[in-house]
């Protein structure tokens, strides 16, 4: 039972991070390798607001999330929009540079000392007893709930709302969307804002639940493997991929070797790439036309 609870919590964290990858990939076919660093920025935004603005979680958390979303918009406007005509590989490298810059900026301001925002907010993280004898922390429960809420909200938004349809249209064919009067740059910026918001949410929760330090970005790489296993343009696949990878990882920690667990998302990825490269629920890459 404890294992199941562990899997669900880990999968929720992966979903929160993975949402960012899926949204950005669907919008602009770009792999945002800085997603993990956006998560880190979200955590540090929380720390910054707690230490400078207000220690009340009701103010600090929304503010940190807003900062996260704003960072996403800025990233799009300053970095990704100019890369619009360039090959995708170059755009991905730009995200790598972005990750480096974010990490450096954070280290310059906060050094690489580990921080703990939770006590600063006067909150504690008590354990919660689950049926079956398992125990998780209160923030673990919040993580799972947030992931579920975010997924549900995004699903509804993209499938049902007019803006969501336009976002999907702009993601598929930006030029045609422009011809139909859709300002796709605004919609792409919105995708990035949502992706960054999700990452910031993950960062806020992780920083409060575990710890905050500049190396948080590594989790982003693991979530990346998860997003790929599920299919990079499918939110549903993301859930499936997260559950599968989390299961493998938790089982590896418990029964095989804790060090191997860090590599296990990539092993899953390798397997998926060999068998079904587009992931569980992703769309097959288009045929090249001669």
């Amino acid at each position: 039972m404890q294992a199941v609870a562990g899997v669900v919590v880990l999968a929720s964290l992966y979903v929160l991070l993975g949402v960012g990858y899926v949204l950005v990939y669907r919008a602009s076919r770009v792999l945002n390798l800085a997603q993990g660093d956006l998560m880190m920025v979200g955590g540090y935004a929380l720390f910054a607001t707690v230490t400078t603005v207000s220690a009340s979680p009701f103010i600090a958390v929304p503010l940190a999330l807003a900062v996260g979303a704003a960072v996403g918009v800025l990233v799009y406007a300053l970095l990704m929009r100019p890369m619009a005509g360039h090959p995708v590989f170059a755009a991905v490298l730009v995200t790598v540079s972005l990750g480096i810059l974010l990490r450096v900026a954070v280290v310059l301001v906060y050094t690489d000392q580990t921080r703990y925002p939770l006590p600063a907010m006067d909150l504690s993280n008590p354990p919660v007893r689950l049926p079956g004898g398992a125990a998780v922390s209160a923030l673990d429960v919040v993580t799972v709930a947030s992931a579920a809420a975010l997924l549900g909200g995004l699903f509804a938004f993209l499938r049902l709302s007019r803006l969501g349809i336009r976002m999907r249209a702009a993601a598929e064919r930006p030029l045609l969307a422009a011809q139909r009067g859709i300002d796709f740059h605004a919609l792409f910026a919105l995708s990035w804002a949502l992706a960054s918001f999700a990452g910031a949410l993950a960062g806020v929760l992780y920083a409060s639940n575990v710890r905050l330090d500049p190396s948080l970005g590594i989790l982003g790489l693991k979530a990346f493997a998860v997003a790929l296993v599920g299919g990079l343009d499918s939110l549903g696949g993301l859930v499936a991929g997260a559950l599968i990878v989390a299961t493998v990882e938790v089982l590896t920690i418990r029964h095989v070797n804790p060090l191997l667990s860090d590599v296990s998302p990539f092993l899953c990825l390798l397997l998926m790439l060999l068998v079904r490269p587009w992931g569980l629920w992703g769309t097959r890459e288009e045929l090249e036309r001669v």
Partner: protein
């Protein structure tokens, strides 16, 4: 390719020659003589810089063959370096093998690994391929770290200086000659490959794979060849690195190293041999340049804690700037400058691709 008027080729040999004009032959001769004589006049620090640049150049050229020419995006470069270095480390430590055994072994290991990484390239393209190579990178590093934890010292494996034909390679000057020669050979290989059938096949595959296949190019074979050639060279570079540094550790082969090499070919200019060389020089010398600037502005005292992040950040910033504003890299700047000089006072150059 000669530009400007006044140079006419009258024989096939002249047309296919690698160095065609008299000016170029003179420049090349001067370069070779200069490199040969450098140890007499330069300080050990400068020699060290050139040596490091030469080693980086080999890695950059290998990556350029794979990613720039053949268009196969690889994020596992550090993994190949690590494989070559650890082969040397493991063989030297466990069976005390001499360099004449370890170097070929490193090449073989690198080639095999390249083959393994290259096989997914037959099914995957673009970003998916990059991710496969990234996953491979992590697996290789994990295996290496397991070895290091069990049999090496905690921080790494030490490698004694190699002895070849009775000569012990220990001094900076010796390594300078070895590595610069290695770099020059690799440059020569790279330029010739680019002009050969193999190079043309790679470029065709890069541009439009289906069209290449319909022209009769054995796409699978050439793709695997690109991976193997690149990985063999990189593994050799890693092996030499192990001997040069006398120490091998997993921490030295993190993902950041891969990014550095990719930055080298991106900043230098993808698909171009000259670009790989320029990029290797630029990225290797950048941290020292920043050190020099900071040292000049704030002389004396210990390095402040923000110096390392600053260097790292400058590297990331420069890469982003090049990607956004100068996608053709340093080679693009060089060619624009050259065209401007040649065409002046006319303005527009004819259309041409990077290569």
């Amino acid at each position: 390719m000669a530009y400007g008027s006044g140079y006419f080729k009258t024989t096939y040999e002249a047309d296919m020659a690698l160095v065609d004009t008299r000016l170029r032959r003179l420049a090349l001769a001067t370069l070779i003589v200069g490199l040969a004589v450098l140890p007499r006049v330069a300080s050990p620090f400068v020699l060290e810089l050139v040596t490091q640049t030469a080693l980086a150049a080999v890695g950059a050229l290998a990556l350029n063959m794979l990613t720039g020419l053949a268009g196969q995006i690889s994020l596992g470069h550090a993994g190949f370096l690590c494989a070559g270095a650890f082969t040397v480390g493991i063989l030297t430590e466990s069976v005390k093998a001499p360099p004449l055994v370890t170097l070929p072994a490193a090449a073989v290991v690198g080639g095999l690994l390249g083959l393994v990484v290259g096989v997914p390239s037959l099914r995957l393209k673009g970003l998916y391929l990059a991710l496969g190579t990234l996953a491979m990178h992590f697996v290789v590093l994990y295996v290496a770290s397991e070895y290091q934890a069990r049999w090496g010292f905690n921080t790494g494996v030490s490698v004694p200086a190699p002895t070849v034909a009775g000569v012990r390679f220990r001094s900076g000057v010796q390594w300078y000659y070895v590595l610069v020669a290695f770099a020059m050979l690799t440059t020569f290989l790279s330029v010739n490959l680019g002009r050969s059938r193999v190079g043309r096949a790679w470029m065709a595959i890069h541009d439009r794979e289906i069209a290449a296949a319909s022209l009769g190019i054995a796409v699978a074979r050439y793709k695997l060849l690109a991976f193997v050639a690149s990985s063999v060279l990189t593994a050799l570079a890693g092996a030499l690195w192990a001997y040069y540094r006398s120490f091998v550790s997993v921490e030295a082969f993190s993902f950041v190293v891969t990014i550095e090499f990719i930055a080298m070919i991106v900043i230098g200019g993808m698909g171009s041999t000259l670009g790989a060389l320029l990029g290797a020089g630029f990225v290797t010398l950048l941290p020292y340049g920043i050190d020099a600037v900071v040292g000049a502005l704030a002389p004396g005292g210990a390095a402040p804690y923000w110096l390392f992040p600053l260097k790292f950040g400058a590297f990331g910033l420069l890469m982003a700037l090049f990607l956004v504003f100068e996608p053709l890299g340093l080679v693009g700047i060089w060619r624009r400058a050259r065209t401007w000089v040649v065409l002046w006072p006319l303005r527009y150059a004819p259309l041409r691709t990077v290569r």
